[in-house]
Amino acid sequence: MSADTILALGLNHTIAPVAIREKLAFSKDCSRPLLALRALDGCDECLLLSTCNRVEVYFVSKSGAAAADAARKLLFAGTDLTDEEARRYTYFHQGADAVRHLFRVAASLDSMVVGEPQILGQLKEAFRLAGEHKAAGFLLDRLFTKAFFVAKRVRTETNIGGSAVSISYAAVQLAKKILGDLAGRKVLLVGAGEMAELAAEHLVGQGIAEVVVANRTYERAVTLANRFHGRAVPLDDLHAQLEAVDILISSTGAPGFILTRDEVKPVMRQRLHRPLFLIDIAVPRDLDPTINDVDNVYLYDIDDLMQVVETGKADRDQAAAAAELIVAHEAAKFGEWLNGLAVVPTIAALKKRSAALCQAELAKTMAHLGGLSDQDKKAVEILAQSIANKMLHHPMLFLKHEANGMDTQARLSFIRACYDLDETGGEEPERN
């Protein structure tokens, strides 16, 4: 049993263009594809994460790359992409790399807007679903529990989440500076990214009257619109919508500008120059920066907002670096734990632990006992060691035999926890 059995396969906003991501995204219900993955040959456990910016499968398998190929075929089954193309748009991590990747995703280091808090909730939801369908077992359970712990550590020990939350807060403050009271205003979400959702959530909290969602795929627009009791429109309708809304949040991930200055100018005339606040959180940019020159139009991109909240780039880089350190440290610890999950090293560790205990206790006792002959001392030592060995006999049998309804990993983990072989000092693993 080795760490290589944890695998991560997927694609995100950096590797695959939005057109590909959207073909793949399982927006409604992940149960069906999850069960299909679970049924694959050589897949022992699996979990499927699908968000606006990423689709990922985490699984446990002994067959490595072969299982990954099967999973990739299944993910791309609904598209017309060739196998080679599918390979180009996905990444595949094994073992320690897969663990590290998951920890980075959970800690929001892999997000479009680093530090955005939505991803953790989405990951927890994916984990819940996998648990519900019994797709995640002992190893993924432990892995994800750890990932949530890492995310929490990163969030409390670094200021990485600060900027994302303060960015959407700053967007709301700016909207109020420009538009006054936000009650009765309309907001248009173009594209459906996590950060846009977060900003929209903040805005809705301020009494926004209507949320309109425009997206390349209409279905996803509907899903998101339902969350805010809003309305979905096709992306072609963008210009028409621009006449009616007051705030636009764009995060499409399109390769070029979706809106230019020359397109906005005539709209402003039709709007009778009512002010328009545009927020561009896409990377690369969705909105032509020169739009800001149009009278009564205010365009802010993610860097502008960061500047507003005065989180300097240096601070952000520092927070990200600190977070990467935590991730690396926790991934290494998890790797050690994973490596220990084998019968032979566990038995050795158990013996070592018992011998050390014997020696320590004997040393204490001998110090108090005067006048013992060497032979007596020998007898006491043998007594101690044989009690310890007898005590270990049944735990060792328990480890070696599978006849008690628990699989090997669970039994190993159980014994290691009982005897504190990972030297956690008795602390419980973090559960969220």
Binding site: K177, L179, L272, H273, D295, N296, V308
Partner: protein, 271 residues
């Protein structure tokens, strides 16, 4: 120069200093204090206007001193009346210095009460002059709002937040202020021109003489009329409205002072 006038000026200066201190420090205590001081100044100023009336024996609006003082008085009460309609944060920091400036101009002008020429001794005098000055005071308030709008908008457009972003109300509030001031100021301006014309008919026998003051008041009127017309039909609001409020007030000021001092005409007795 009476003690009453000097003490009124003193309270105005105190109110201005407090408003500016509130602007810089953002301490709520100062906000309330500034308002109280301005109300006190307004009351003292009202008493002063009454003494001027008694002293002159007619409505005291014929000298530069009285006209400017009346305009400052009207701005004070116009500004205070807003407090009950909207909250426009730090509006006082822009309005009170202007009021104080007007009071300083009044201080520097001669307070001698001159006898009016018989032609001008008419019931139209208080009506025409006070309406025209009231109009000017509301246009002045719109001007202050316009300055605030441009300062704040500049920071938001350039994405560099300095003094104004946290201290000024929203652009929307400032634009509403502009609309409100003009909604009061423009009808008053119109009325001022009409009453002036009626008075001219009575004094000189015809409604319009194309005297420089009349011409310039008409220019000012057209500027504001254009602004309001565009606002309601073409949506000239916000930035353009703010700029127009500033340009329009410059024209109004020129009508008020520039014409009197620089150009000759039937109004030249003022000043």
């Amino acid at each position: 120069m009476t003690y009453l006038f000097i003490s009124t000026l003193g309270i105005y200066v105190a109110a201005t200093v407090t408003a500016l201190a509130y602007f810089t420090t953002q301490q709520e205590k100062l906000r309330g204090l500034g308002r109280l001081l301005l109300i006190a100044a307004g009351l003292a100023h009202t008493c002063y206007l009454v003494t001027r009336y008694l002293q002159a024996g007619h409505t005291p609006l014929t000298s530069n001193h009285d006209a400017v003082s009346f305009m400052a008085w009207a701005m004070t009460w116009g500004f205070l009346s807003f407090r009950y309609r909207y909250k426009v944060k730090n509006f006082g920091a822009f309005v009170t210095p202007l009021i104080t400036l007007l009071m300083v101009v009044a201080t520097l002008s001669s307070t001698t009460v001159r006898e009016l020429p018989p032609a001008l001794q008419s019931g139209w005098l208080p009506v025409h002059a006070s309406i025209a000055l009231l109009a000017n005071s509301f246009l002045a308030l719109a001007f202050c709002g316009g300055i605030m709008y441009l300062l704040l908008e500049g920071e938001i457009k350039k994405k560099r937040f300095g003094l104004f972003c946290e201290r000024l109300p929203s652009l929307e509030a400032l634009d509403n202020l502009n609309e409100h001031c003009l909604a009061v100021g423009f009808p008053l301006l119109t009325l001022g021109i009409i009453t002036g014309s009626l008075w001219a008919k009575q004094a000189w026998g015809s409604y319009w003489h194309w005297d420089p003051k009349e011409t310039w008041s008409l220019i000012t009127w057209f500027l504001y009329a254009a602004l309001l017309h565009q606002r309601f039909t073409m949506g000239w609001r916000r930035r353009r409205a703010a700029i127009m409020a500033i340009v329009g007030f410059a024209a109004a000021l020129f009508t008020f002072w520039g014409v009197s001092f620089l150009l000759e005409g039937v109004h030249s007795y003022v000043g």
